[in-house]
Symmetry: C2
Subunit: 324 residues, 2 copies
């Protein structure tokens, strides 16, 4: 095995992106190319201890696979959701994986005997988009992931800001509609409560009388609750309720991104997550609404994420490569 | 003269904080102590060329004064308001001084023959508060200056974020009241339009029928328009209109600071500028309203600025000391 601080031609890093349902895993070379990928179920219902055991087993298996292929695993990067203290390598809190103060970095470093870095899923996703994806070539990038929730990563010169307690970039909890819909965080009118993919589905179900779970029928062709993508389709087809819910989400997103631009002043805003799949139905009106709001601010480029659901895993690899 | 990169016992830096009405100037030692101060009028009405000439003359005079006192001026720091491109040393734009793309750093470096740094007034003020003032000892600080306008500086590990175009930290233009009062920037409902010192005075004049200029009488004892400080006094004395305007400003500030905390995740929020003079009348209700809004966020300390109107000049000195 070559020493970890030498960049041998056979060097790879082991990268894991741990989500609520699955883990995306890869072996990545120092030039950023992926030489092997794996996916595993997280099975979060088994509890955090079992999930940690699976993470360590999968990481060990990847390192073994690398060696079996004649490569040298030189470092390990792990991305997890929730609140992550990157400085101490602790997964502080996560709703969907169940972590509570898990010293995951040290556990993994001990098991694999490799330099290990722990990162936050959205922040490492932003890192990857900024360095290898849609933000490539620009020094100041805001990556915004819109899915079940909304979170952001502010990446300057290839480093994502974590904040004082690992909680920076919570753009989903920027107030955009005082007295508006109740957010999961307990406040009213957060961006996430109006414009996340799940908020769009919920607000459309409410608007069409389907109720929050869609059990009363939503008027859609399948009988299942309409997703945010369905709402985008129906809005484009001219359905009034869908058009209204979609427009309200776009306006709220423009307000949230304008606030982000006022505070961060970036060159490029990269939007990813499930909602970005709506393509021009999202980006065309959002770009117009955002630019309308830019008065004294410099207008950022608004672009779709380029790396899809690989961003987190690639970002974990970048952290590991930086730590070699 | 000792070389600029040696820290001789007689070394000082020359620091200027250029405002719309006056310039605060100082000679500062490497340990941060001020050995000499001067104030000069800016006289912005003479136009930007004349102001630049005065800045250069004053800086040269300060360097000469240092030498006459047996000290070695080793660097120059200049803080200016508006949009400042710190990387290129250009004063891009300023409403109250009239700068338009003035290469002030290079002009001053040429005239004085000293390493020169140009900074943004609020950002260098934040730098000084974070390193020497109310944020001392904490790594992540948000400095918010509330006066005629509202602007912020995000300081991490002693460095203030400038953004991609020198426009970061514009917390005054965070949307807090959709459809609310028109802001100077052209949008409705910006924080600055509800909660700056001038907005508070204007809103109180409107509420009491005095009109925006106070010419119709404002019911106050002096006959002149009530200032934000007067509004705070009258609110404390139980006057309903003052109490309402003051409470609305405090609520809006809490919303704006909560948004700042969601995005930046700092340990300490330092509030300065004229409005901070209101003391407990501002800080007691603002701290309560801010903490009420902290759901998932970590609560930042909320404290008053410690350096008063010296912060900008001290921050300019810190920039110069860093650049030696």
């Amino acid at each position: 095995m070559s020493p970890a601080d030498a960049a041998g031609p056979a060097d790879v890093v082991v990268a894991l992106d741990v989500g609520g349902t699955g883990m995306k895993c890869a072996l990545v070379r120092p030039d950023g190319t992926t030489v092997h990928t794996e996916r595993h179920p997280t099975d979060a219902g088994r509890g955090p201890d079992a999930v940690v055991e699976t993470i360590l087993d999968v990481a060990e298996g990847l390192a073994g696979k690398a060696r079996a292929d004649g490569r040298d695993p030189v470092a390990l990067g792990i991305a997890v959701p929730g609140v992550v203290d990157e400085a101490t390598g602790v997964a502080v809190w996560s709703a969907n994986v169940g972590f509570r103060d898990v010293p995951l970095r040290d556990l993994a470093a001990q098991r694999l005997g490799l330099p290990t870095v722990l990162g936050h899923d959205v922040r490492v996703g932003g890192l990857a988009e900024a360095r290898l994806g849609a933000g490539r070539g620009t020094g100041h990038v805001l990556f915004v992931a819109i899915g079940t929730g909304i979170a952001a990563a502010h990446v300057v010169d290839g480093a994502a800001a974590g904040g004082a307690h690992g909680a920076a970039g919570e753009i989903g909890h920027v107030l955009v509609r005082p007295g508006g819909p109740r957010c999961g965080c307990g406040r009213d009118g957060c961006l996430e409560a109006v414009a996340s993919a799940s908020a769009i589905a919920r607000r459309y179900a409410e608007a069409t009388g389907a109720g929050p779970t869609g059990t009363a029928g939503d008027g859609g062709p399948t009988g299942t609750p309409a997703s945010a993508a369905d709402v985008a389709d129906r809005a484009a087809a001219g359905e009034p309720a869908a058009a209204r819910v979609w427009a309200e989400a776009v306006e709220a997103l423009a307000d949230g991104l304008a606030t982000g631009q006022a505070l961060y002043d970036v060159e490029t805003v990269v939007v990813g997550g499930g909602l970005a799949q709506a393509g021009p139905r999202l980006f065309d009106p959002l770009r117009a609404a955002l630019h309308e709001r830019m008065t004294f601010h410099r207008r950022p480029r608004l672009v779709a994420a380029a790396l899809g659901d690989e961003a987190g895993c690639l970002g974990a690899a970048l952290l590991a490569l930086d730590a070699r």
